[in-house]
Symmetry: none
Subunit: 119 residues, 2 copies
C-alpha cells in the first residue's frame, strides 16, 4: 500500500491534487460536505477536517452557508538578504518536501545564511 494514511489527510491530499492539476479551478466551489461524505463514505467530521487543512494551507476559503471555494495562487515575493518579514498571524512555512511548520505570529523571517561548502 502506498500508505493507508488517515481519513482526512488522504482526502485533503486528493482535493489538493485536483486543485494543483487544475481540475478544480480558482473560484470554483468544492462539493458540499454532504456530497463529499457520500462520495467518500467518511463522516462529516472527517470531511470537515480535510477542508480545514486545505484552509490552513491557504488553498481554499470557506464562506458560511455558501460553500468552500478554490483560491487563486498568491503572488510571489522574493526575500533578499537583509530584508525581513513578519505578520500579525501565524506564519506557515512549507518545506521542500511539502511538509509545513507553523510559526508564532510576530516571528521574523529572514534569509538563512548560505551554508559553507565544507560542512
Amino acid at each position: 500500500m502506498t500508505g493507508p494514511l488517515n481519513g482526512w489527510r488522504t482526502l485533503a491530499e486528493q482535493i489538493s491534487e485536483q486543485i494543483s492539476s487544475g481540475c478544480l479551478a480558482p473560484g470554483q466551489r468544492l462539493p458540499s460536505e454532504e456530497q463529499l461524505q457520500q462520495r467518500t463514505g467518511l463522516s462529516r467530521t472527517t470531511v470537515r477536517a480535510a477542508i480545514a487543512e486545505l484552509r490552513r494551507l491557504g488553498q481554499v476559503e470557506t464562506r458560511h452557508s455558501a460553500g468552500t471555494f478554490v483560491l487563486g495562487v498568491g503572488d510571489m515575493f522574493g526575500l533578499r538578504p537583509g530584508e525581513s518579514v513578519t505578520a500579525s498571524a501565524a506564519l506557515v512555512v512549507t518545506g521542500v518536501d511539502g511538509t509545513t511548520r507553523t510559526l508564532p505570529a510576530g516571528t521574523r523571517i529572514v534569509v538563512a545564511p548560505a551554508e559553507p561548502p565544507g560542512s
Copy 2:
C-alpha cells in the same frame, strides 16, 4: 455557574489571554483536554476546537501524547531556498534601510535567487 462556557471561541480567548498575560509562560504545558473538559463543562470536541484555534494563531504547539505547549514569540526564522512562507494576514516586509512594505495575505515569500555578479 462557574462561567459562561459558551463555545470554543470563548475558551480559546480565555487561554489566549492567559498566554498574553504571562499566566501561561512559553514552554509551559496547557491543562490536558480532559482537565479542560472538567473545568469548563464543555465537550472534548469543543475543547479541541479551542486548542486548534490557538494552534492556528501560532500561540501553541501540540505534541502527540505529550500535551499542548505555549510557544515563545519574537523568534527569528531563517528561510532557506526551496522553502516558502505564507500567512492569513498581511505580511510586512522590512527592507535593509528600515522602510516597510505591506503585502496581501496569501503572498508566498520565497528566497530571492542570487543575482549574478555581472548585472
